[in-house]
Amino acid sequence: MRTYLRLLWTFFRVSLLGELAYRASFWLQVAESLIDLGTALAFVGVVFSYTRALNGWSADELLTLIGVYFLIGGAINMIIMPGMNRLIEQVRQGTLDYVLTKPEDAQLLASIQQIDIWKLLDILLGLALLAGATLWRGSVPGPLQLLAFALTLLAGTVIIYSFVLFLATLSFWYVRMENILVIFESMYEAGRWPVNIYPGWLRAILTFVVPVAFAVTVPAEALTARLTWLVLAGTLLLAALALLASRLFWRFAIRYYSGASS
């Protein structure tokens, strides 16, 4: 575990140094993230000028949800997506061979090999939103709620990671998988709203086909005290199963891999 964290830190430092060469792009990235956030808030503002609660979610609770959306989205786009996109590229070009010959676990290396540090901004914005929503509500969540939040946040990230890893692993057989990741990104945008506002078929897709519901709605439910024990247990179980399944699939795929360069 210590080695893994050290590796992550090393990759992080390398990309930080790489990006620090372009200081002007810092402000551009800040502007982009702020415009994103402003758009989301303005839309929510208009919606709540016509209603007091959206299927039981009040304005401050929805703000919490958007906070989680930015937090998880930032984490996905900072580490998971860049790494997976690069993995697909490596499979196509045959450079995955070099990753496989390294002495660390290949799945881990592939997962953290590329970090887009600017997405840290989204994570910070998400945290700020969560703090703001809590202040607005005026009641701090209890320790049990915070624990449930942390657990579901972790489980949600694990589920998304396993899902994206599964898709990226398919590139061992099908070469053009980067397009599939684009679909995932646009589906993730639907997570800006609690999944219970969607009609049944769309809710089912967002829960079981593209697991956006577990990543955003469930942690937000934990923080706003509407999570049942059953959902909590189910989410944790699903996360464990998803991680195991994607790991097994990765191992299977690696055995299948013959290297395009040789």
């Binding site: 502007a31 209603t51 945008e189 639907a190």
Partner: protein, 267 residues
Amino acid sequence: MRYLIAVYRQQLKTAIAEQLQYRAALVIWLIEVALGPAVSISVWSTVARNEGGEVNGYNPSGFAAYFIATMLVNYATQTWVFWEFSRRVREGEFSPLLLRPLHPIHADIAQHLAYKILMLPVIGLVTLLLWLAFHAGFTPSPASLATFLPALLLAFALRFTLEWTLALLAFWLTQVNVINQLYVVVVLFLSGQLLPLSFLPAPLQAATAWLPFQWMVAFPAQLLSTGLSAQSVVAGFLAQLLWLLIGLGLLSFTWRRGLKRYTAVGG
């Protein structure tokens, strides 16, 4: 004129052949296009149901019709010249285009038309699916339906002219992404894509009256989803024509200034 038609035919053929290489991209595009309206319809239908079935004169099936109509209009009018232009200028791709004996805008128009023709089956399928899934209720009168197509054509001409002009900013600025993103957000709110214009706060509604954006999306979309009175139809057409003239003036002015300014980067 005959010469121009021949040019367009060739450009269309090339662009369609180019696009046909990416058939998988069509499916992805289908999901992306369908998702935006599906989310908007869900959100506003929920608001309507929470408020007793109706807000501002829209019930869930009214919202469905409105957002499906905006999706169609947006598909027909949207352009991607921004992203093209900044790349063209940065990478020096502009120089060969300028050497051709014809204004480069024609190639761009042809390319956009080709893409839209090619996507027609996809957008038709998305429309049908959304219509059935959300029980959309379209209620236009035959007269307003008849004016939809000309309004749509003018909307495309207007939007293309304005966005092509704005894209010319790439001659002066090398980093235009933030400007583009801001423009996209402004259009999202003020053109009626994100919500019907009558839902905007009063000051923003006042602003839309003085800006060209609602004539690019909301006007044709309303003709299709609910229909408009004869008076508003006439006013809408006049506004579209007026803005189109202003746009064309701006375009030729900016184009001439930009060309003087242009020194190929990397070429």
